[in-house]
Symmetry: C2
Subunit: 241 residues, 2 copies
């Protein structure tokens, strides 16, 4: 069964958390809005048209089509994919814990987006630069530290093995990699200051980057570069040195 | 088994979505930070001390203790409680769909909070009133409509029965009730304009309010009133008539 991933074709965004899980699992999937028609892809127009259909219409991209199921919300997609591809624990308690970590990463991602769009997502960044500068300060000096520090504590207390749940990688580890990458891109100075106290988090980031399927993916054209169109945005004025 | 709910003792906040599920299910629980010591409660200080403990430390309240499990993130707590109390579908596909709707409500709740704290959660509202006024406009005129309009569409396409999944109430219906109540409190003028096109959503709100256990709860002292300390805040300047 080939999955269909529906997401904006030109950014990593929230879709990237799903792409990383699919790539690590070597799952067959079509990135619908990116593919051409020969691949079963239909471009951005198809994305928006499909969004409105069906009994379980997603509120927004990303969403995944798996047979006759249409599944929206990033963490929910991963909750579905994890057990199918060995990226979640087998027991219910472990799965809830991984979901909890994923939802905490989702909160971090939402805050990272709010930094450059504090006044509203319908306005351009250029129209809310002053507000963004105010918001960025708290994010840079307090929030990143709080989130990544929490993951450092989780890793400190986890069973041996180096991953968030110990011996086995989960989709939350892949997502933590992506969060660190995004934060490094958008807030390089802040991250440089914070990373010395985040050894375990950075070790997860490094271990994910070395996983063969992830490594191949990152080196491929399928990996869209970070940009100031996505969730993590590098605006130097929001991350003074 | 008595659940322990850990949440701020003086606000509805995110904890209220959990309280509503526990109350509707007539589940035995202690609202730890609110109870006195005779009830097993320990006040706000105990809340913060407990937060930092254990192998699965929650990032923030609310969290639920169920036996030896500590479960954080509102949607994750409900994912755990739903099947145990008849508040989620029995099939996996149905459970994912309810989780998806709950996560969409979580996004709405986060945006409702950002309206009065666009620049940062560490600052007072009074120090970001101008930014809040800008953000409120988009929320009032576009975002509420987009979210609740989506739920209206979901209800329009759902199997007969009036609930989000048709014939049986789920925790997502209880949460939709809470979202409507919060929005009515914080944005009464905006909601008055929007509600004529939200018949099905309001019917769910009304049906939840009439459920015997919910009705008894809402009339009890256990229901904390809305206030300008919570997530939904009534600041008249953010909702001009």
């Amino acid at each position: 069964m080939t999955y269909q991933l529906h997401y904006w074709p030109t950014i990593q965004g929230r879709g990237e958390f799903v792409r990383l899980a699919l790539e690590d699992a070597a799952a067959a999937y079509v990135d619908v809005a990116r593919g051409d028609k020969d691949d079963g892809g239909g471009g951005e127009r198809a994305l928006m048209a499909d969004l409105a259909k069906g009994d379980h219409p997603p509120f927004a991209p990303p969403y995944l089509v798996d047979g006759d199921r249409v599944i929206g919300q990033t963490a929910n997609i991963l909750l579905h994919l994890g057990p199918r591809h060995g990226l979640a624990p087998r027991d219910e308690s472990g799965r809830l814990w991984v979901n909890q970590m994923q939802l905490t990463l989702a909160d971090l991602v939402a805050e990272a987006h709010d930094v450059h769009h504090p006044v509203g997502m319908g306005l351009y960044y250029e129209d809310q630069k002053d507000e963004a500068a105010r918001r960025a300060k708290e994010f840079r000096t307090q929030r990143i530290k709080k989130y990544l520090g929490w993951f450092e504590t989780v890793l400190e207390r986890a069973p041996k093995g180096g991953w968030l749940t110990g011996q086995h990688v989960t989709y939350a580890d892949l997502s933590l990699f992506q969060a660190v990458e995004g934060l490094r891109y958008a807030f390089p100075h802040a991250m440089k200051r914070l990373e010395p106290k985040l050894d375990r988090v950075i070790a997860v980031r490094d271990a994910v980057a070395q996983r063969p399927n992830v490594k191949a993916y990152l080196a491929s054209e399928r990996r869209i570069p970070f940009s100031t169109e996505g969730i993590f945005r590098a605006y130097p004025e929001l991350d003074p040195g």
